[in-house]
């Protein structure tokens, strides 16, 4: 059941997690995976796991795997338009071959 698919990766601020997950679900994606991340980009250092008075400054990395590349691009567009003017974030696409998935 191996098939080519796109993996959309979004790295952005943790405060956006809930909202972005809503957008992912609305997009028709069949799933997503989140990992905690820290990093630095054009805006600022965002830490995670450190003692920090507020969690505003840590990142999350979201992977969305889908066979519908257009949908992935559209989803990235929606998220970027809605949030990336004011929030840190990067979005990229990777081509993968899904070997096993319960639903895709």
């Amino acid at each position: 059941m191996s098939q080519q698919a796109s993996k959309l990766v979004i790295i952005t601020e943790k405060v956006l997690l809930r909202e972005i997950v809503k957008l992912i679900k609305a997009s028709g994606a069949t799933g997503y995976t989140v990992t905690a991340a820290s990093g630095q980009g054009s805006r600022n250092t965002r830490s995670s796991g450190q003692p920090a008075v507020s969690e505003t400054f840590s990142n999350v990395k979201l992977d969305v795997i889908t066979t519908d590349e257009d949908m992935a691009r559209q989803l990235a567009e929606t998220i970027a338009n809605k949030y990336f003017n004011n929030f840190s974030g990067i979005a990229y696409l990777d081509t993968i071959e899904v070997l096993h998935a319960h639903r895709l």
């Binding site: 405060v15 003692p51 507020s54 400054f57 949030y83 003017n85």
Partner: protein
């Protein structure tokens, strides 16, 4: 003159009190590059423990309190929270090198309340044996929420006017977001439990005895944070640092004055007045930033978090607390 001397003595004593000493210690070791780390989960748990203790105490005392006594202080708390933001809107936010939304957001954070500073104030009051209405910490949300709401509304009005957009700002989601924050919901839950159940034993055997010790650890974290955020503050206009150094004292004095009115009118205790002043003096560190990040997304968090954490909190604790205590002694002669 005597009062000044007394204030100086008090400040010196404060500098040796564990609360302040751990705060300064935290700044110091962070500046020296220490790799000491208080894990985030410990930090979160300590905040829970402190605010649960404050809430339980408040709830148990509300049981026996005359609710009418709370009305005026609560009203004043609302006015102070909103007023601080309005003042900031027409001072800091109008300065040339300050982006208006950054200024408003910063004022919002300074109008809001810090659970840690509140806990520090309670410990100092109790160490000095000064009585206060134990429901006074429950004024927290009455000051905190209006400040955040007003800041978000003002900022969005400004941005809308500027950008010609027409989205409406809805207030209820901001209030809900504030109430659901971890610090405030721990305190409100504590109040509810103190009010409706019998937590005396657990309060006296667990939450209260650990209060001061856990606060010392939290102060250490706040100190390390203050130093860590200095870098961010340096990247924004100097006005933020200047505002952050002055506002806690000014805001506290305004609240002290209103508290004095409540003292005269309804017998609000001197300790309560001091607590009100310190609530006003404090600037939010836990719940405020995420609420503002969501409510005024275009404001730069480096400005408001930097100002509050690096300068506002140390000033409120190190200068504000002894200042308002000293003032109370002069005014009330206690």
């Amino acid at each position: 003159m005597d009062a000044l001397l007394d204030f100086a003595t008090r400040l010196l004593a404060q500098l040796q009190s564990p609360t302040l000493a751990f705060l300064l210690g935290g700044i110091l070791i962070a500046a020296l590059g220490s790799r000491l780390e208080i894990p985030e989960s410990i930090y979160k748990f300590i905040v829970f423990m402190l605010l649960m203790r404050v809430g339980l105490d408040g709830g148990m005392s509300i049981r026996e309190a005359n609710l009418a006594d709370m009305l005026l202080p609560a009203l004043f708390a609302v006015l102070i929270g909103a007023g601080i933001v309005l003042i900031g809107r027409f001072t800091l936010a109008l300065l040339p090198s300050v982006r208006t939304e950054d200024g408003i957001a910063t004022a919002g954070l300074f109008g809001a309340v810090s659970g840690s500073t509140l806990a520090a104030a309670i410990v100092v009051l109790e160490s000095e044996g000064i009585d206060y209405e134990h429901w006074a910490p429950a004024l927290y949300p009455f000051m905190d929420i209006p400040a955040l709401v007003v800041a978000i509304v003002l900022a969005n009005l400004y941005l809308k006017r500027r950008d010609g957009s027409s989205e409406k700002v809805r207030i209820w989601p901001i209030v809900k977001e504030s109430l659901q924050g971890s610090a405030l919901s721990a305190m409100l839950l504590g109040i509810a439990l103190g009010l409706f159940t019998r937590p005396e034993q657990i309060f006296e055997g667990f939450y209260d005895p650990l209060f001061r010790g856990l606060l010392s650890v939290l102060m250490l974290v706040m100190g390390m944070e203050a130093y860590a955020r200095l870098n961010e503050l340096r990247r924004v206009a100097h006005w933020f640092a200047i505002y952050a150094a002055i506002a806690p004292l000014l805001n506290g004095l305004i609240a002290f004055a209103l508290g004095y009115v409540a003292h005269v009118l309804t017998g609000f205790s001197p300790g309560g007045v001091v607590l009100l002043a310190i609530l006003a003096s404090s600037s939010s560190d836990i719940s405020g930033p995420p609420t503002l990040r969501a409510g005024i997304p275009s404001a730069n968090p480096s400005a408001y978090v930097g100002a509050s954490t690096s300068v506002g909190t140390p000033v409120a604790i190190a200068i504000g607390i002894p200042l308002f205590l000293g003032l109370s002694q002069v005014v009330f002669g206690t």
